[in-house]
């Protein structure tokens, strides 16, 4: 089974998610810079979510490059990932409109965490098809980055409950910063394999 349509469908869904979020930034009635001020928190949460969807697209792209085949289970793991990402616009808007208050920040973190778990599952479904000696398995290794992210999301949620939602929000930004650099592991492995072949 080819990976072409899985990529096309994922690109489509991610492109729509990243774009419809802008519909939540409602156009203000006044035409002064002050009329834009109330939109500032909404805009901030928009930026973070834009970067997050960008990260997922980027890593999805990298992941799929070392994939040769997909199965029914992989298709569903991918839809599962898209499901959690599809809730990002809702959580973004709720968080932005409530100026990063406690529960919206917790929900935002929860959805990111579930997306992180879903990505982990997808990566491991793919590894199990390709075998332990595949480029994919070697590139992912123990997937410390994936596990670390989920741990940081949980820490962020707990911090939002017991300390302050801004601590949680900061932790989500930290995870984004960690992933901002595209998965160099995969890029390196592709290069190495390429060299070995020659």
């Amino acid at each position: 089974m080819g990976k072409g349509r899985l990529e096309a469908f994922s690109d489509g869904v991610l492109a729509i998610i990243i774009t419809i979020m802008v519909l939540e930034i409602k156009v203000p009635h006044g035409d002064n810079p002050e009329d834009l001020k109330p939109l500032l928190p909404i805009f901030m949460s928009y930026i973070l979510s834009f970067i997050y969807i960008g990260i997922y697209w980027n890593n999805h792209h990298h992941l799929m490059q070392v994939v040769n085949k997909v199965s029914g289970t992989v298709l569903w793991s991918n839809i599962h990932l898209l499901f959690w990402l599809s809730l990002v616009p809702f959580a973004t808007a709720w968080m932005g409109e409530n100026h990063f208050s406690k529960w919206p920040v917790i929900l935002y973190g929860f959805i990111l965490m579930m997306a992180g778990v879903a990505y982990y599952i997808l990566a491991h479904c793919l590894t199990s098809i390709h075998g332990k000696d595949s480029t994919l398995a070697k590139a992912l290794g123990k997937d410390r980055k994936g596990i670390l992210s989920v741990v940081l999301y949980i820490a962020g949620i707990i911090a939002s409950v017991f300390i302050h939602p801004w601590v949680g929000f900061t932790l989500y930004v930290v995870v984004a910063a960690i992933w901002f650099t595209p998965d160099r592991r995969i890029e390196k492995k592709i290069e190495n394999n390429y060299r070995e072949e020659q």
Copy 2:
């Protein structure tokens, strides 16, 4: 005539349908967990519809894999299928906002049934081009799964009218569960053909 653009267009439409449904989950004004409670039925219907569109994409993917050519009639059968699926976000929102009351559940079932019929028509248009001995025709066989689904949708609609909408809803979930496993028939046939060729 190639199948590339039919796949691309279908992927696009399905990606948009699955994603715009989230726009119906309106962001609540309050920022407490209780403010999310009224969204629960809307969210439940969102999940079911997300899975349904996922199933259609998945099966469409499987179906197209054993297709070599398309005709004008196939293009229109496909647009007909997309038409009924395009109404899913509307029916989902109506059902969710009315807490799974009688008529919305009936409409939801009716639209799913029509999508099921449209998929059946599409599959049979494709079979008639490819001939009885094609991999496609063998894989689909008598299409018992497709016929069973339509029968269960009708049963769900009748149950919603005369017994209770939750009975109907449960039957729709049963159909989703039946289809959740991607069409193994096609996967098996591809494998078998591949083996026979070698």
Copy 3:
């Protein structure tokens, strides 16, 4: 210059246009069949527009099959066509909400007419690159169908002004019926060329 991205971009825009129209069918508050009644004219105009966008996608698909190259002018002719089609959801909603009254029906016809003209321009830009002896030029011939459509749209607009909008609406349905059959001219030409080559 390849035609791949032109097709991909057009598929994307057409897929979005055909799908976002459903967002104009606002979910009613009540949960009875009577609550759906006011949506009937909106739904009727939705169906017609869905078919129209389907026709444009279908013919665009057929047209591009006999195209080997595109130029900057072709790219802009295509964007020009997409511009008029992008206004279809607006005109559809205005016409549906006003129960097919005079001016909305006129605007709807005007936008369809401009889309028809834009398609004509696109087809002729393509012909001028491919030359008079190309499969494309032969398949299109004098493009009587394209000219007839524009004439019928103008007739529909005039009829809406002086007789009754339903006469205009009926003429738009007639044009849709004419185009419903995908452009057999192109399909035939492809077949013939294929035979001649053998």
Copy 4:
């Protein structure tokens, strides 16, 4: 790393941006031509933005044709460009609803300027991977057109602040007119290279 998915994702995002802008043209309640009058400025800003997104798609298309490989940095430069373009629908709606008053016109110009800068960065990231002797580097040259655009946007913003927003708006139209012609530099270079090879 291939450029296929970068093109697909960009096509998707640009197709959605260009299409959802139409959702900001709210359907009026009345059914007379006068009811459309208040939409005129909104429609005017829609046309300009449609052309701008068309220009970006067109130039992106041309740019990618002379690109052989992409890197992680390129992927992010591209997402950065899409970020600024994703704000175009918001700025378009604000400008249209406020009849091209001062601050909305400034914001619109600012977002166009940032998109121009982002495109410049993307082009130069690509050049740095491909080397100074690549077709890409030769085609772009000193990128005078890109620099001129940014200068004109800044001039438009300053003019909107100190003279009148219509002066600013006119300058944005001038930039659009400059770019309307697709990047002939690249088309020429491709032709030349092709000839030299033969």
